[in-house]
């Protein structure tokens, strides 16, 4: 039954995260970007909301709720939202597709009261990378696998305890749970990118890493890697919706106050109409994201919807961030205002694949 109704529980969680986002996260965003470092106090605040750990709980797993909350976090800051969405992606994949032994071994590790990171490693440091052309390989051995490859843009790579590595195994893609301390795993230096600079993203190399058979997600049953990708696309869509909303909510009061040629900038149609379009598109982005998330939640095939949501959001989030800078003119180009940061962050989020989940 078609419905946009939030449950009472979803509304409560949403307003709790909204409150955290505006009081704690937004004020910390700029300095985290400048310092290219993720403040651990912020991670603990996010952890304390329980949104990451709830993936472990069979009744708590809800891609729709995750999408709602990631949007709110991203209104404050996209790096912080991804710091939540990365372990959500990891835990969500284990919870949805792991064997019972994998769930039993891994999920409790993430039940403590301090932030803990683990990453979904899909992207590779390679020009023209595409999820359908993954080059990392896992070679089946008698009692396990031999994993080789490079994975790039892993959020908070240096502090991840585990990676879920997607690699080609024969003709198909598979996902492998790899401990950070396993022999052959080395985490590179954190490398600043255009945006999401607080996220401490790095490349991780896997050199002939020997994995037991139990490392394969789902063990003998294997897993549906496409579902991990669909989930990532949905999470990225939620985050792009949040960033777009941040821009829109910032430029509306700004253009109303800014007087140019004797009148408020927002009273000029060319500005007002673009603001109207921002509203149209952020609404549409959100509903696209919700739809993909709700299909995932119901266990349906979300591939088409996740692709459409992701494609729509990448295009429109970038347009909105771009217009946000434009509407502030020179002020928008200076780092005194957040729009230049959102412009960089949006360029970064909107080209990612994998890395996160709902």
């Amino acid at each position: 039954m078609i419905s946009f109704e939030l449950t009472q529980e979803q509304k409560l969680a949403q307003s709790m995260v909204q409150e955290l986002a505006s009081s704690q996260l937004r004020p910390a965003a700029r300095s985290a970007d400048d310092r290219e470092a993720m403040p651990s106090s912020i991670l603990d605040e996010i952890w304390a909301t329980g949104i990451i750990q709830s993936q472990s709980d069979a009744d708590g797993y809800s891609p729709t709720l995750n999408a709602l909350l990631l949007e709110e976090l991203a209104v404050a800051d996209a790096s912080f939202a991804i710091a939540a969405a990365a372990p959500i992606g990891f835990l969500g994949a284990i919870a949805a597709q792991g064997s019972s032994a994998q769930k039993k071994n891994l999920l409790p590790i993430f039940a403590g009261d301090k932030y803990r990171c683990a990453g979904v490693a899909i992207m590779e440091p390679d020009f023209a990378f595409d999820v359908s052309a993954i080059r990392s390989t896992a070679i089946k051995k008698r009692d396990g696998y031999l994993l080789s490859g490079m994975k790039g843009l892993i959020p908070l790579a240096g502090s991840c305890s585990h990676f879920l590595v997607v690699a080609r195994c024969g003709d198909t893609l598979d996902a492998f749970i790899v401990e950070r301390n396993a022999r052959g795993v080395s985490v590179g230096e954190k490398k600043p990118n255009i945006g999401l600079r607080a996220l401490e993203m790095a490349t991780v190399s896997f050199k002939d890493v020997e994995l037991p058979a139990s490392a394969r997600l789902g063990e003998s049953a294997g897993c549906d890697v496409q579902r991990i990708i669909d989930s990532a696309r949905t999470a990225l869509s939620a985050i792009m919706t949040g960033t777009a909303r941040a821009v829109m909510e910032f430029v509306m009061p700004y253009t109303k106050e800014r007087v140019v040629h004797g009148d408020a900038l927002a009273k000029k149609q060319t500005i007002a109409f673009r603001l109207a379009d921002m509203r149209i598109e952020t609404d549409a982005m959100r509903w696209m994201t919700w739809k993909a998330a709700s299909i995932l939640e119901q266990g349906g095939d979300a591939t088409r919807q996740a692709q459409l949501a992701y494609t729509y959001c990448t295009e429109n989030a970038m347009w909105i961030a771009d217009e946000g800078v434009q509407m502030l003119g020179g002020h928008g180009y200076l780092r005194d205002n957040p729009v230049e940061m959102w412009y960089r962050d949006t360029r970064t989020v909107s080209v990612l694949e994998g890395a996160v989940g709902v």
Partner: protein, 380 residues
């Protein structure tokens, strides 16, 4: 709970609507070519088929709601291009329903009533209409003079709800509505207008020359109540636009498939051809706009009168139909231009939705004023 799945009741109604749309589509070219001919009130094939609009409006239990279902039925009908059941409802009926006295409503409830607002000098800005009614004390009648243009259901309808200025006997002035029945002396309906597309859509100009109207026909809708009929209809126009857009997408997907080009959603943009990528982007525009329509209709069902959401749905649907029908022709190339195929009609038909019932710019004015807290004076 957030959910986007159709119920089985929805699916039943929509599959019946779709089957009828497939029949309707067979007539689409004929009426495109014969624009002076009105479609029959009911096509022979429709005799034993239920009108899906009626089914939707009945608010069947187990459906996603009558408003949502109605909009999805309209989408199906516009997918086919011709409705097997002619609508008996005009926007003038909505004015009648909302402002008429019970006696007036009783008299005309079974009439099809067009809405007549637009004039040569007043389209997007209906406040500048010139049509005027003066009161004749001797006969107790109103005398109407003016011209209305581009009026839907002008020929097929039984009457028109005319927005007019008035000068009352006491000299007071304002705007009001009169119900003018067909056949009233001084009221003439012009010939069918020649249009780019939706050629089967009955559209004529109306002329009122010293047209005498009994006081009983004074419906007393004011400017605001007349314009508010568009709140319900805007998302509906969005849905209609998306029907045409989906017809274009469906045809394009089918023909690309026949040439071995399948639309795959698994990989990323660097793994697909420009054609597949463009298709996916167009399809995303369709999906996005459809969800804004559903959102607006869902709000109506929650008794939250949508305002900005209704305009969002209209603007999104109108733009989607333009971009998609233009883009599909790029994807299929020059062969798509031919009248042997439906895209030429989708391209022409699909252009109306961002124009009538408040063009895209007008929707953006409404949205911008609302989100910025501006009045019509601040932003016009």
């Amino acid at each position: 709970m957030i959910d986007f799945q159709l119920t089985s009741t929805d699916e039943n109604v929509l599959s019946s609507a779709h089957e009828q749309a497939i029949i309707g589509r067979r007539y689409a070219r004929y009426y495109d070519k014969h624009e002076d001919e009105l479609e029959p009130a009911e096509f022979p094939e429709a005799k034993d088929l239920p009108n899906p609009v009626t089914l939707a409006e009945e608010g069947l239990s187990g459906s996603s709601g009558s408003r949502i279902l109605h909009s999805l039925v309209m989408l199906e009908i516009y997918w086919g291009g011709i409705s097997l059941h002619r609508s008996k409802w005009g926007l003038g009926n909505t004015v009648l329903k909302t402002v008429a006295t019970p006696e007036q409503f009783e008299k005309w409830k079974n009439h099809t009533i067009a809405i007549a607002i637009t004039e040569p000098g007043a389209g997007s800005d209906p406040a500048s209409i010139r049509t005027t009614a003066t009161f004749d004390r001797e006969t107790g009648e109103w005398i109407l003079n003016g011209e209305k243009i581009f009026i839907s259901q002008a020929q097929s309808g039984d009457a028109a709800m005319v927005l007019s200025r008035f000068i009352a006997p006491d000299g007071s002035r304002g705007m009001t509505t009169f119900l003018v029945e067909k056949g009233t002396p001084g009221f003439t309906v012009g010939p069918q207008l020649k249009k780019l597309g939706i050629r089967s859509h009955d559209t004529c100009n109306l002329l009122f020359e010293n047209c005498r109207i009994p006081e009983f026909n004074h419906i007393k809708g004011d400017f605001k109540s007349t314009m508010s009929v568009f709140n319900d209809s805007r998302p509906m126009v969005g849905a209609m636009a998306l029907g045409v857009a989906r017809a274009a997408l469906d045809f394009t997907r089918e023909k690309l498939g026949e040439r071995g080009i399948e639309i795959g959603y698994r990989g990323g943009m660097r793994s697909r051809s420009a054609i597949v990528d463009r298709f996916i982007r167009l399809e995303a525009i369709y999906e996005a706009a459809l969800l804004t329509v559903l959102r607006s209709k869902w709000l109506e069902q929650q008794d939250v009168p949508p305002k900005v959401e209704a305009s969002i749905a209209k603007a999104a649907g109108g733009k989607a139909a333009r971009r998609i029908t233009q883009g599909c022709i790029d994807l299929l190339g020059p062969e798509a231009l031919s009248e042997d195929h439906p895209l030429d009609r989708c391209f022409r038909d699909g252009r109306i939705f961002d124009i009538y019932e408040g063009a895209g710019e007008i929707q953006r004015l409404i949205i911008a004023r609302s989100i910025l807290g501006y009045t019509g004076r601040d932003l016009r």
